[in-house]
């Protein structure tokens, strides 16, 4: 069974110590140290291939790390551990490609894990699902199938689906990168609202406006390393690392 950790930082949602990961002989994460407090909103940015997605996907072990320690919601995670499914229920994830289940209605997408994993009765699960669909402003689509919705609507359903599990922590892996420009805002609005409600969030995104408005801290990654982290006010005004300066220069022009 998973070992309860008595970490010194009791209010940490995520703690990484010297985290390393390889894809074959290629090292994607180099000794990453990161601590995310409960209620904190983190935006992870950096050039493609810098390891941002991998970092976030380690947190719910869709990718496993090979070295270092990773503690999520007070439990240390490691390859091959038992009880992972239970721990994942407390960590919501939103994917770039939405990954809604196309054979289920919007409502059933939201209730599936409540009924099958949390073992709630169906009517109670549906109540929770409708509540969260209202939160993402899409309750009228509950009985449609995902392919009948626009990309922005699908991503909002995906957010609602994750929220139904009442996660302690939400991970966003480039949630707006697959969207048409006019649909980005509706998704970011939902995410902003979520942040205001006090959700602990770790977002990989290139939406610098969102980062500036919502993030408590920006993490900048390059070649599998965190090379700069700062509050948005500082990060956007005068980034220290030349690579971050270059990156921002390209983003803002």
């Amino acid at each position: 069974m998973a070992v309860q950790m008595n970490s010194s930082s009791d209010n940490a949602a995520v703690t990484m110590e010297q985290l390393c990961k390889w894809y074959g002989s290629f090292q994607v994460l180099h000794n990453v140290d990161l601590s995310v407090a409960v209620g904190e909103r983190i935006v992870v940015c950096g050039p493609s291939g810098s390891g941002k997605s991998t970092l976030v996907r380690c947190i719910n072990q869709l990718e496993t790390h090979e070295k270092g320690r990773l503690i999520v919601n007070g439990v240390e995670l490691y390859k091959g551990m038992r009880g992972l499914a239970e721990l994942r229920r407390d960590v919501g994830m939103v994917f770039q490609q939405f990954n809604l289940f196309p054979h289920l209605t919007v409502l059933d997408n939201c209730t599936l894990a409540l009924v099958r994993a949390r073992k709630l009765p169906r009517d109670q699960a549906e109540e929770i699902a409708m509540e969260n669909l209202k939160k993402v402003r899409i309750p009228e689509q509950a009985h449609k199938f995902p392919t009948q919705l626009s990309g922005g609507q699908q991503q909002r359903v995906a957010i609602a689906r994750a929220l139904c599990m009442k996660p302690k922590l939400m991970l966003f892996d480039e949630p707006t990168s697959a969207l048409d420009p006019e649909m980005i805002k509706e998704v970011l609005d939902v995410m902003t609202e979520l942040a205001r409600d006090g959700m602990t969030m770790i977002c990989v995104t290139h939406e610098m406006g969102f980062a500036r408005e919502v993030a408590d801290r920006i993490i900048f990654m390059d070649s599998g390393r965190i090379i700069e982290q700062a509050a948005p006010s500082k990060f956007f005004k005068n980034p220290e690392h030349p690579r971050a300066q270059q990156f921002l220069g390209q983003m803002l022009h």
């Binding site: 719910n60 869709l62 499914a85 239970e86 721990l87 994942r88 229920r89 407390d90 960590v91 919501g92 994830m93 994917f95 490609q97 990954n99 809604l100 289940f101 196309p102 054979h103 599936l112 894990a113 099958r116 994993a117 449609k144 199938f145 392919t147 009948q148 995906a158 689906r161 994750a162 599990m165």
Partner: protein, 215 residues
């Protein structure tokens, strides 16, 4: 003998043909799903074993297997009815093909589907059962109908182990008098009458899958 009389006489074998085909599906479908899923997930020795079993049923001649099981099993003290042997051999043979459709359909699913299920905290088995298999089976349904039709047509072979199916009846009639055109066109028509409704059923179900997505 009139064409209609021939048809009626052939129809006396319908029960056996239908029984072998239906029972055959009960062998074919579970075998296809279980073997396909196992081959998709298994690694190492288990995978070799599963592959060997699939290949045995898929790559052997059905006639040889029919004879082998019908005539040699009693030597080992195992007595199975002709219908059971016929259904099992045909079912596992078609199931062997079917397993490859199941495996291919599982492999072609976007891995994001699995990841989304796991991220929600579902067990690997629930992800397979509730997310992957329903989509895989929808995707392979046209192939499945094809294979069901192959199975029905394959039942002609059980006439070789002395089951009085439609083909066996036709051969009996053909010994009464020389009328190959009448008898075998009646037999061909009989199988068409049996198989075509399956095709129609397949199209109906496919259309239902389609409207679910594009309504």
């Amino acid at each position: 003998m009139s064409f209609f009389a021939i048809l009626r006489s052939i129809y006396e074998g319908f029960g056996i043909t239908a029984a072998v085909a239906t029972l055959g599906l009960f062998f074919a479908i579970p075998f296809a799903v279980i073997a396909g899923v196992l081959q998709h997930f298994a690694t190492g020795p288990l995978r070799w074993i599963v592959t060997a079993i699939i290949e045995f049923w898929r790559s052997s001649s059905v006639i040889v297997l029919l004879y082998a099981f019908y005539y040699t099993l009693p030597a080992f003290g195992i007595f199975l009815s002709g219908i059971t042997v016929g259904a099992m051999v045909l079912g596992f043979n078609i199931g062997g093909y079917g397993s490859q459709s199941v495996r291919a359909a599982l492999q072609s699913l976007n891995k994001g589907q699995r990841e989304a299920g796991l991220a929600l905290g579902l067990s690997r088995f629930d992800v397979l059962r509730l997310i992957e298999l329903p989509q895989a089976i929808t995707a392979m349904f046209p192939t499945f109908i094809n294979q069901a039709i192959q199975l029905i047509k394959g039942t002609t072979l059980v006439s070789l182990i002395a089951l009085t199916d439609m083909t066996f009846r036709a051969k009996q009639i053909s010994e009464l008098g020389y009328n190959p055109v009448g008898i075998y066109s009646a037999l061909a028509l009989s199988y068409l009458i049996l198989c075509y409704p399956v095709t129609i059923f397949g199209r109906k179900v496919e259309r239902r899958f389609a409207t679910r997505k594009a309504r």
